[in-house]
Subunit: 247 residues, 2 copies
């Protein structure tokens, strides 16, 4: 359909950086936030990776993702401590120098009392050459954007503020709309009808999500499309199928 | 140090499969569980990826991860509906046929009332050739292991039961031990001392995790090592540094 082909699709990947997520010590709260945020902007989040605080792991992931998607967002590893190695890893990925950035130095010098802009804090002013700063309203130390890669803090409140600062600069696509139909049925009972509805509406994505509670299975069926009318028609067909099978 | 070199390190990656995580519709609960589980077993979780329900995305991720790590665990996409394509994607990654597996058929035929083992439910008995089944105590439909790849359900209660079934079959390494020191300080004030302690104890991993609440920053310092004595000594040094700087 012509109007479907005109849809603009913008893609993104999210890279979570930090030993603490992979050891289980910290439970990630950023993936769900970024997923919701991208959906609300009209950007398709296509992949997430979580890697260790390891220079070559970070650089390899940044390069793999920036070549594949329109945008890459990272969280974690831009603080003042020795284990914060995201800036140098991203500089390595882009093969550019990492130096004290006069703009970042100015922001942080103003933020700390005189004499308190210590060498550790100066680490947070090291920005890869050619990058733009990303404003940090919460704790001042900026993130940065280089090419299509946006480097943000890992602390959720700071990451979220940085995402708000980035959002107006992003190209966005046609929003993916969604509807949910709840079925008091295990998904295996509705599977054949759903497959037929999916076939009938190729411009939708129909997902079936089972939930177990107290040994009973129920299902949420999520119908997604960038076209409001197609979404409505497919959702009605799903609701009808659920009603008929629930009988 | 000789005893450090004798440590056995076993590595793993976790692959989360599902559009619903990337759209934000479902908030992942499996990454944190698997991270904790691997740490408790003595397996180093090195990487996590989240990919769409897309055959080539899944197969590419499985192949990248299985060649790099000792074990791969996946969650999601093994149910009865059209959007569950993990089994066929993993079969494609290993270039083996995907057929109805007599062992899986036997389990599911017994589970459903006579005549209720429908074509949709038979999808759950399709297992890549050469795979072993993974028991599912919750809802019967099995997962499977092929090579070093363990394919599990996405519903957390089922995934967790499958992990318990897999655990006794896994080779494990020397456990990574950890201690945490809480500091009522922003991490930039302790950064230089931590870097020096990290340098003094190369057989530890020292991580610094800031937390923002009500505009105030505190820090958790996590010291990790496979050697109990080294861990104790490094932790004491960190605690002393925090006390001196707080003092």
């Amino acid at each position: 359909m012509a109007e479907q082909k005109a849809d603009e699709v913008v893609t993104a990947a999210f890279l979570v950086i930090g030993d603490e997520i992979l050891s289980g010590r910290t439970k990630d709260k950023n993936i769900g936030f970024v997923a919701d945020y991208m959906t609300s902007l009209g950007i398709d989040l296509k992949e997430v990776r979580v890697v260790l605080d390891d220079k070559s792991d970070i650089a390899d992931a940044v390069n793999a993702l920036r070549n594949r998607y329109d945008y890459v967002f990272t969280s974690g590893g831009i603080g003042p401590t020795h284990d914060d190695i995201t800036a140098e890893s991203v500089a390595a990925a882009f093969d550019v120098p990492l130096n004290l950035d006069p703009r970042a130095v100015a922001i942080l010098e103003k933020h700390y009392p005189p004499g308190q802009f210590t060498p550790a804090r100066q680490r947070m002013a090291r920005i890869p050459e050619g990058a733009e700063l990303i404003q940090n309203k919460v704790s001042k130390a900026p993130g940065f954007r280089i090419g299509n890669v946006h480097v943000m803090a890992g602390v959720p409140s700071i990451m979220q503020a940085m995402m708000d600062a980035i959002a107006p600069t992003l190209r966005t696509g046609t929003k993916m709309l969604s509807e949910t139909v709840s079925a008091d049925l295990p998904e295996s009972r509705i599977a054949e009808r759903l497959a037929a509805i999916q076939d009938a509406y190729p411009d939708t994505l129909i997902g079936s999500y089972p939930k177990a509670s107290d040994g009973k299975f129920t299902t949420s069926i999520v119908i997604r499309s960038r076209d409001e009318n197609i979404l409505k028609a497919a959702t009605e067909d799903v609701a009808r199928a659920v009603a008929e099978i629930s009988g």
